[in-house]
Amino acid sequence: MTFLSTATLVARKDLLVEARSREVIYTSLLFAISCMLVFAFGLVKEGRVIADAAGAILWITIAFAGTLALSRIFDRERQNETLRALLLAPTPRAAIYVGKFAGVLGLLLLVEGIVVPLVVLMFDAQLFRHTGWMLGLLLAGSAGYAAVGTLFAAMLARSRSRGALLPVLLYPITVPVIIGGVRGTAALLQPEADLVLARAWLMMLIAFDAVFITLSLWTFEPAMTE
């Protein structure tokens, strides 16, 4: 089996399981909405959201919902011992990683597909004045988050106290994604959108993706060996 077909199969399986149960989507979405509700109490003043807060709400919600989705996806693998079986299969480990990464990214983008319009509606954020840039930021940011998240969630799947350790590991390491996403979105939300700045942040996110996807691909094999 080729690299690509293995990866596609792994990703397809994750998305199929999700399409049947819709567990991760439902829980992460509800969690994302509760997150936004909690933020509203702190960041809304006299009925209006304070400047730049919409971008922060969006990205922090994505990060939190992403952690929930990641731990749920790998818990599922663990319950059925499927990760172990997958790793025993005579396929390149990197292909398994790519498949998992694609699955996680797909789910994350699905959640964003609902969270982003909600932020637009509920916080009156003009996110889509520059649709291309916004989509670029979302895609690059989610890819970086999913890349690091998949690696660590997969490795943590077998260890003790993974529920507590995943956020502790993931948030410091994905700090550049959060800064890039929040500041890039804030640059787009200014009355006169600062496209130069938005591009600088997008470039940073793409560089982050390139480095960390490569490192993850490279680390996944030795790290997942017993």
């Binding site: 500041r183 130069v196 700045l197 600088a200 480095v211 490569t214 490279w218």
Partner: protein
């Protein structure tokens, strides 16, 4: 036709080169930064801070540095002692076991 061994070796060399290039490029990217987004003026002339005595702050900073290093040394020393004791104990037990 190359053997699988030489293939993996070549892959390893490729990977090493890639990482080396990345490590070289990254600082270059980091240095080529556009000006900071918000100018922030250092507040070194705050009226309140002027009257604040500096000596206790300096003393505290040096004390913390020394305390941290000395405590760490102490902890290494203690941990080494525990391991040494256990090592001696296990060695004795192994010796006793082999004599029996």
């Amino acid at each position: 036709m190359t053997s699988p061994v030489s293939k993996t070796k070549r892959m390893r060399v490729l990977r090493a080169t890639f990482v080396a290039v990345l490590l070289l490029i990254l600082p270059a990217i980091a240095h080529r930064q556009p000006p900071a987004q918000e100018g922030f003026v250092p507040v070194d002339q705050l009226p309140g801070a002027e009257q604040m005595p500096a000596a206790p702050l300096v003393a505290a900073a040096y004390a913390v540095a020394w305390a941290a290093v000395l405590l760490y040394l102490f902890s290494i020393w203690k941990r080494l002692g525990t391991v040494e004791r256990e090592l001696a104990d296990v060695a004795k037990r192994i010796e006793a076991g082999s004599r029996r």
